[in-house]
Symmetry: D3
Subunit: 134 residues, 6 copies
C-alpha cells in the first residue's frame, strides 16, 4: 500500500497538467502503460512534471551513453539504495532495451563486488592515493 493515492486514468484525465504528462509518457514510450510511480506523483502536478521532464531529458534523449548502459546504472543505484520498486521497474526496462541474461548476471556480480570492496575500504579507512587526483 502507498502513502498517497495512486491516480486512475479517469482521475488523471480530469487534471489538465496531469493529463498532459501522461499523454507525453505514452507518446514518448510508444505504449499505453503508465506505471505506478507516475500515478503517485500525479498528486502534485508540478512535482510530476518536473520529475518526468528530468527522466525524459536524461533517460529518453540521445546522449553520450547508450540507453541500455543508462538502465544498468539506474539498477546499480536503485539496488544500492534498497529501492524495491525501482529495481523491479528498471530491470524490466533494461530487459525491454535488450539486456541479456549474461549481461544481467555480470551487472549483479559487479554491483555485489563493488559493495564488498566499498565496505572493505571503509572499514580500513584507506587514504586516497595522490595518483588519483585530477
Amino acid at each position: 500500500m502507498a502513502t498517497v493515492p495512486l491516480l486512475s486514468d479517469a482521475e488523471a484525465e480530469a487534471i489538465p497538467e496531469v493529463k498532459a504528462v501522461f499523454d507525453d509518457i505514452r507518446a514518448t514510450r510508444k505504449s499505453d502503460f503508465v506505471n505506478n510511480i507516475w500515478r503517485g506523483l500525479a498528486n502534485d502536478p508540478a512535482l510530476l512534471k518536473r520529475t518526468w521532464e528530468q527522466v525524459k531529458g536524461i533517460m529518453a534523449t540521445e546522449g553520450a551513453l547508450d540507453p541500455l548502459t543508462r538502465e544498468l546504472i539506474y539498477i546499480a543505484v536503485s539496488a544500492t539504495n534498497g529501492c524495491s520498486y525501482c529495481v523491479h521497474s528498471h530491470t524490466a526496462a533494461a530487459r525491454a532495451k535488450g539486456m541479456t541474461p549474461a549481461q544481467h548476471a555480470e551487472l549483479m556480480a559487479i554491483v555485489g563486488l563493488a559493495s564488498q570492496t566499498n565496505s572493505l575500504v571503509t572499514q580500513m579507512q584507506i587514504p586516497v592515493d595522490p595518483q588519483f587526483e585530477v
Copy 2:
C-alpha cells in the same frame, strides 16, 4: 589515516603470498603502481588474495559488458555507498579506460536522478506494477 597499516613494497615482498598478488596486480595492469586498498588488504594475505581474484575475474576479464561500462557501474555503486576512496579510484580507472567528460557528466546526471526517484518512490511507498513481474 587508515585503521590498519598500509604495507610498503619492502614489507609486501617479505610475505610470499602478498608478493604473489602484488606481482599479479602489476602484470595484469601492466603498471608498477599498486594502490592503497591492496596495501591495506595485505595485512591479511587470504583476504587480499580472495578480493583480488574477484576483482580480476569480474573487472579484468572479457565478458558481456565492456570495460568502461563496468567502471561506470562501479562508480555508481561507490557514490551511492558514499565511499570516497572508491569514487576516486574508479573515476580514475574510468578515465584511463576512455571515459569522456560528456560521459562522466551523463553518468553523474543519471546517478543523481536515480537517487532522487528512489527517494520519491520510497516516500510514496509505490507498489510494484504486476507488469514488472518475471
Copy 3:
C-alpha cells in the same frame, strides 16, 4: 512477518514493565491504539522502556521545533534509510498533526532533491568551502 513475535494486549498486560509502558503510550497519545513497533520491542521490556522514553522525551514534549516539523524530519530520515514501516507510521502521524497535501508534496520534493544533490556532491567529491566553517 516479523523476526520476533508481536505481543498481544493480553500478553503485554501479563508483564508489569510492558503494561506500564503500554499504559503510558495510551495516556500520552490519548488513544487506545498501540502500533506494532511497541509490540515487537515488548519482547525486551528494558529496550521497550528506553525506546519509548526517548520517543516521548523528544517527540511528545514541547521544545524548540513544533510537532509537525519534527514528524517531517522523521519522515525524511526514514525514507532515506529505506524503512518502509517508519515511512508509513510517521506519514500517518504527520497527517494526524495537520500535514496538508501541499506540505507533503513539498517535503517529498525537498527529500528527493537533497538525495540528488547529495549524490552529485559525492560523485564530484566537492571539498568543503572555508566559509562553512564554524
Copy 4:
C-alpha cells in the same frame, strides 16, 4: 580534492551558460559567494542549469513550508546519506536562516532517534499496521 576541476570565476565567465547561472545564484542569494558545488557542476552547463533551477524552484521560492524547515529537512537527508559537504553547507544555510542552537540540538536528537528506531524496526521486520493505510 575533487574528481572534477572546480571552475574559477574567470573560467565561469568565459562560458555564457555558466555565467548566466552564476549571475542568477548571486542575484537570488543577494551575495557574491558561489560555493564549490556549483563550480564542480559548471563542468557540464546543462547539469548545472537543471540542478540550480530545481534548487531555486524548491528551496528559494515561497511554498507550503517555511525556509528554515526546508533546510532542517535537507540536513536530515544529508546526514543520513553521509554527505559531509552537504551537512556543512546546509547547516551553514540553516544558521543563516535563523536556526538557533536549541533548534539545532533538537534536530540532531530527532535525526539520531529516527536512525535508531529505523534500525530497530528493520531488525524486527515489523509489519505495517492496517491503521496506517491511506
Copy 5:
C-alpha cells in the same frame, strides 16, 4: 516476486555446476533445505559458485570468531543495509546456532544505538581524535 526465476530442484539438477553447488550446500549444512538466494544465483552458475565458496570459506570454516558471533555481525550489516531477506535468513541462522532471546535483544540495542551515534557524529562532523590513529 523476484527479478530472476528461482530454480526448482529439478531445474538445478539439470545443470551440472549448479547441482554440484547445491549438493555441497546440503552436505555442508547437513540439511536438505536450499534457501531462495541460491535458487536465484543459480541462473548464473559462475556467480553461484563464487558466492557459495566465499560464504562457505568465511562463515562455515573454523576461524578467529565463533559461528554465532559471525551471524550477529551478518545481521548487523543486513539490517543497516535494509535487506529484508538477509535479516530474516541470518536471524534464523543465528537462532539455529544458539542465539538466545537475551542476546537477540542486546544485538538489537547495540545496532540501534550505533545507528543513532553514527547519525549524531555525522551531523556534527566530528574530527577523528589523534589518539585513534594506528
Copy 6:
C-alpha cells in the same frame, strides 16, 4: 572541522551537567581521555547525558554478549553507515578490548561478504523462504 564547537575541558567544567557526564565517562573508562564526540554533544547537555547513559547502559554493563563482540557489532554498523569517525573510534576500542589482527581481518571479511550478498539479494528481490518465519 565540525559543524558545532568542540568544548575544551575548561568549557566543560563550567557547565555542571556537562562536568558530571565528563566525570562519569572518566570514572567508567578509568582514563582521563574524553574523545571528541562527547565534546560536540556537550553543546546540548541533555543530549549529551541521554547519549552517554545509553552508551554506558548498553556498552559498559555486563550483559548477554561479551564486550569485544559488542564492539565488533558497532564497527560493522559504523562501516555500513560510512561513519569514518565511528569506524576509527570503535576499531580503537575493539583493540583496547583485545581484538587480535586475525579477528579484525575476519570481521572485515564478514562485513564485506554481507555487503555483497545483501546487494545480490536486493538486485534479485529474493522472496523470504517460509522456513524463516518465526
